[in-house]
Symmetry: D3
Subunit: 330 residues, 6 copies
């Protein structure tokens, strides 16, 4: 039985949810990963008003869409980042407040906890999102951080997130942290370290998005094999290396589509990800959650792309045999 | 006539200069790129004491070593970085002072200007070094910076460095900024942008170190072809990609030699750099300055390595024909 | 006019033939390569009972399926292998008898001759199968065999198979020996040698299955170019190399799907075979026989896979131009 | 301090030991891995005659050669192989006896035990060699073995070798089993299994010869990382893949140098092994034993080759830094 | 809005235009690139008879086909080639005349001018075609031409083509010269030179056919980036390198499909062209003209192929986003 | 016993022979391939004056140089080329005469015959050189030649060269035609055809220069395997592909060293030729003639390069074993 195909609503925050839902249904999606920005989902509103969640579900149900996952990447980013001007545009005004870093981080943490409670009200078992990182700026550059700087940062991370994860546990909702540059974990080995910093607590797993691993040179399938029990959510997004001899990999800061970039995001199936291998990897580890299209492609009309992506994912997904090879996992 | 082979003294700051000089001479080096840390070169001391510079030159001359280039990467880093605790270990106490960021940056700028004056006293025509960067932490990660953030940072960079470069001009010394992660420029396109921010002033060019370009996926020879008139100094340092499917490229923060890293620095000739192409590239653009060995290899005894590196560079370097193909440069 | 697409029934021996036939018809197959194991085809029964063959053909015709090829790999394996316990499960009880090697081989040879006679009764022009090999265990390992050991083995092979091929000739049926590890020929050069050992007699040609060549590093198209007149049957089966640095190619003994294997079989189109080149190679040599799907994929539900494979093969196959490039064959 | 460079005497069994020793000394070797065939080393003679071992050591000392390792691959092969005619040429007459398999295996086991006692007399801490395998012929081919067949074979292997290893333990000598096609272990995963079958007993480790792993597609460095404490000896031998589209990897049975082979052995440094990576791998795991040249190259005069190989190995070997990266091993 | 898909009628000159038009319409084409040979389009007839052009357009309109481009490669070839016997079959008798080279070239030039006038009458804004070259035979071989020989040839080229391009300008029609071996420009750098020889006049641009660049090792996308404003027409044609170790790239003179060739033309999507990158490149430069299938594939039935090619191109073409990345072009 | 290392004197025609000879001796060369242009060797002078040849040999003997091969590429080019202005600079005035093509070709043929007679006087067993080609300009480009055009050209070639080869036979000297673009044969398959056109006569074989095959994509070792008995001479010259996405392979007409070229010639060992494989290929076929350095490298001082090349070739050459693998040649 194939997995549910969702649309991640983040890149469509400019489209009112009812309009987007109608389109998503037409394109063939079976659900959405609903994002807590724009009018798609408002955390405090949702908690304060008992009619809010049912109304959202109802609106989506009219297009036959489910909501197994909600997302709050933007606020999560502020939980343990050094706060600067950029964060003001990421978080609601009431989280930003006076913008003093310690306060912003504290209010962001409370908002994330609230997000898990809202998920429970929506019947969504998973919240996806970012963590931020106290030491992202040291990952590359000069001077390299001493090991104790890294160790301290991991403690900060755990201290900030453990209370949020306690709320998640109480709500019966899991956190699918998206392994992504800018976060406490961005590749296989940093994911090991982050999981250890939380003593491997069950509420914390990963949103697996192969595009971010691909351009770094990490094989997405190796990631799946390393964390077979911690894949709590999956993003379908493609990326292609466009190294021309002049462009390099540290070029994600140029605008999407700029030819000076050494990698680009692409509509699924049009980049360098080996989706056949990814899908088999998901089958091997027994992942049976949804596949959410996180659509980005600077060279394609987005509505054309979102529609073709849904079809692509449906073609991609196939049943493993009854006697699954995951028996060999060890 | 082959180029001079220098030893970059930075990684040997723990070795007293007279001891290092004797070894370097034995290993076959013809000069040093003398670094302003450890006891190798002290900026304020050198400017205050008229006997200091001649004494250093004399000490080195006893091992038949020249000093065509001096280096001050560590202080340069503080000129336009956001200052944090790591910078205290990079700069002299009198630059750090009370550690308040604006003051540290100001004093670092003054120290860099002083470094150019000291170069003049030593008869060195080039100072190599770093610039720092107000926006390094935004190069990768989340959220991506808006174009105006980048534009502002470039203005800050120019504002901080133009006065230093005025001093350089007055001293008749050029700045060979090392294109390197963590700096205002770290690849080909960011070097374009940085040069533009300074309106291409003549005092500002590059230390070309192919190792930092290689792991990013940038072809070092393309860099030479793009900036034929701005290569003011060259570092000989090798790097190898060690992508195993599990390691990625954003792993420079793990200790050297750690197998979780996706790239490693190597003794010249033992990594992935195509030195044949690099040398021909240098010949094509008519570079006739020194070649400085910046030796790093976590898997090799450093004295063994420094000796083999000197021989490697001498074998590498050959004469282009009288009628040089640089005629085709355009 | 496209070639017939067949289903090789071997991997479905657990499914009664009438059930399988109905499914195969629905999946789009035009015929079967009927295997002499399970209830699909019983050699002695078929020869003894004049109604048997017509009944089989009738059963298949109800699903619009033809039978241009029958297969007897398991008994063929015993014709010139050193017999051990594994062979008992390959052959019918009356072939195994007391299990003494010489007798088993003799009875296997008789059973193969009978298979050709049964093919004639079914109107099938080709029998596919294995040969076994007296020296397979020496192909790799230690110590390497002396040339005379190889020469002797080839004589044994010819002595065992020539009488069977005489029967084939008399029945007007050809033997399409599947080039496969474990057999007298398993790659291009061993196929040359085997053909020579039989003095190139016309009854003996090959079942071309590119998957077995691919993982050995042999280009399947070169095989077609080398033996343009000896391709008597074709298996469509894909394989993918999954070398991770830890797995090697001598890993076919691990279970299918086990990640320790360095290669895996795959549903056609999902592995590493260049089917475009294979199809053009078949067109170049003028092969106009059927294409039989030999379906194996440890990571996919087999019914889903068998259906998609049939569609894949139909899309793959196209008409060469009237003025065929096979004119250049020479 | 570089490692000792030895000559493996096996391929020179036709040269009297005194002649070979003189040549080896001239070529620059510092010792030999002395083989128990030809006149180089005779096990029973050496045990029976107390003067034998000192005389051998004396003969070698005259050419300044040490004997840290002795080898008995040929007899080891017979310990758990199915015995056939080929084994007669591998073992001494008194081991072959009447050639009945069970007896040959038993006497081969006793001869191996004797070899360990002779090593002790010679002051050699390591015996290198083969194990044979009850199931080598099932590694590739048809039909694949059932898991219980493999399990039984591993038990046979353990039963045959445990008594020999007891003798090794009592003699204070370790067994460096050469991972090699034809043996109980021939790649990384089969080495895991073999080690487990012996419950990881300390006397049993590996002779690491990267050439045999290379052509199978296994990365030799991954082998070192997997078994950092079990590398008891190292062979320096190169191999090159010569896949032309027509040749495959299962071609080791063609004579050396035959162009139908898909791989060839080569004089060290002239094949496809990444020796830089191998040497660093040995440094990482802290291997400080000898490096024995096992010279094979069908396209080169062997004396020319043995001399160049010795120089090659000496250039290859370099000191790791005092603070070794093996700290990261985990 | 996707681009028009045309069929280039050249390879179908043996098919009467009405028959071809009916087929093209059924295959899904929206127009044709009508070629001035066979009965498809006759230049002098078309200019002399005012009813000719409307009749052609009418004939095509019956199959819903447009004619935005006409082609005259064969006559263009004679404009500045050294004339030999091969040209007689390329041009109409009245152009060949007595075959004296100077006269043939002159009459070919007049015929090309006439072609532009006919285009105007047909309402086609573009003529595609070849130029010939006075120095094609010197591009490879011995001895290499001196620079002044090249310079003279470029002057000849300009002198011959400028008057024709004056006519094109007056007719309001552009010349889309096909960059192709045998012509004045055949790769990126020769296209630069040819454009310079005409002082970059606006009437002269390129028919971009990636197949001819691919086998030479030129990246088609780099060509688009170099000449973003000069792509006046596009051919969709695929090519595949078939280097086997024995075949080389200078093998275009063997017949199509001959296995001695090192490259072959292929039905679109079945060769080596990265169409995803080509399409994005066309989007980047804002090309909105038609895509003409120039169908050649020696291994496929041409009618089957022309039909699948039309579908392939339609699937290939997609809308770029409203905010196009061509903003980054510079 | 290693092969003789020669210097091909062609690129040094501006250096008087006595000066060049002294240098060549110092660089380590053991002989020269003496070229019939400049003052190195004058054909008519050498035939007319009985003292000429002994004087040349004497001059060379003073530097310990042998002359096993003489070369006349330039005149050979004119034997069956279409003659144009470029040929005037290739041939002596008395061959050019009035420059009418038929006469030039005739006189060039006579000069080549004379060259063979001069070789006999010098004791050189081989003349190397070019053939020219009536159809070189049709090898690539448009339109492709019809098969009968090729057949006619091959007849012309045979008609022109057979009388010269008769002279060669009578003089006991062989012609080592250099397979090279611009000649009747330039790759493996054209060499087959050319040899057939001469009915395989013994006087006609090849100068094997791997550099010209390499950039075409032809594996030089395959050439050796195809013509094991026809390698009459060897040139050691390296080439490197420098495809950047913008440069292609049809770029040999740009000046050496120009970065627009897609390939460059290089000092031996600094390009892309796999010399290890080439040398083994020469050993396999039993070639025991000289190895002549034909030195070209636009990026290196030629005297530096000629000296390093001689050392390179000496290191390259090694003895095959007594029992040579050429036994497998077939």
């Amino acid at each position: 039985m194939p997995r549910q195909v969702l649309l991640f609503t983040g890149p469509w925050a400019d489209v009112p949810l009812d309009v987007l839902a109608a389109k998503a249904g037409e394109w063939g999606y079976q659900g959405v990963e609903l994002c807590c920005w724009g009018d798609h989902l408002e955390v405090q509103h949702g908690l304060a008003d008992d009619g809010y969640a049912p109304a959202k579900l109802d609106l989506l149900a009219r297009a036959d869409l489910h909501v197994p996952v909600i997302a709050n990447h933007k606020v999560g980013q502020a939980v343990c980042d050094p706060i600067d001007a950029r964060h003001q545009s990421l978080v609601p005004d009431y989280v930003w407040g006076d913008g003093k870093p310690a306060g912003v981080r504290q209010r962001a943490a409370e908002e994330m906890a609230a997000t898990f409670r809202l998920a429970e009200k929506l019947g969504a078992g998973v919240v996806s999102g970012f963590t931020g990182s106290p030491i992202w700026s040291y990952v590359a550059g000069y001077p390299a951080p001493k090991p104790d700087v890294i160790a301290d940062a991991l403690k900060q991370f755990a201290k900030a997130w453990n209370p949020i994860l306690d709320t998640a546990r109480d709500a019966g909702v899991r956190f699918a942290f998206e392994v992504h540059p800018g976060q406490i974990a961005f590749d296989l080995y940093s994911a090991e370290v982050a999981l250890d910093a939380l003593n491997g607590r069950e509420e914390f797993g990963f949103t697996f998005d192969p595009s971010h691993l691909h351009w770094q040179g990490v094989d997405p399938v190796e990631f799946l094999r390393r964390f077979p029990d911690r894949i709590y959510h999956v993003h379908v997004k493609d990326a292609v290396l466009t190294l021309t001899g002049r462009s390099g990999v540290l070029t994600g800061y140029w605008p999407s589509g700029d030819p000076r970039r050494g990698f680009q995001f692409r509509s699924p199936g049009r980049g360098g990800i080996d989706w056949e291998a990814v899908l088999r990897g998901l089958n091997e580890i027994g992942y049976d959650g949804p596949l959410a299209v996180d659509w980005h492609d600077a060279g394609m009309d987005r509505e054309f792309g979102a529609a073709e992506a849904c079809q692509f994912v449906k073609r991609l997904d196939f049943d493993p045999p009854a006697r699954s090879p995951q028996a060999f996992r060890g």
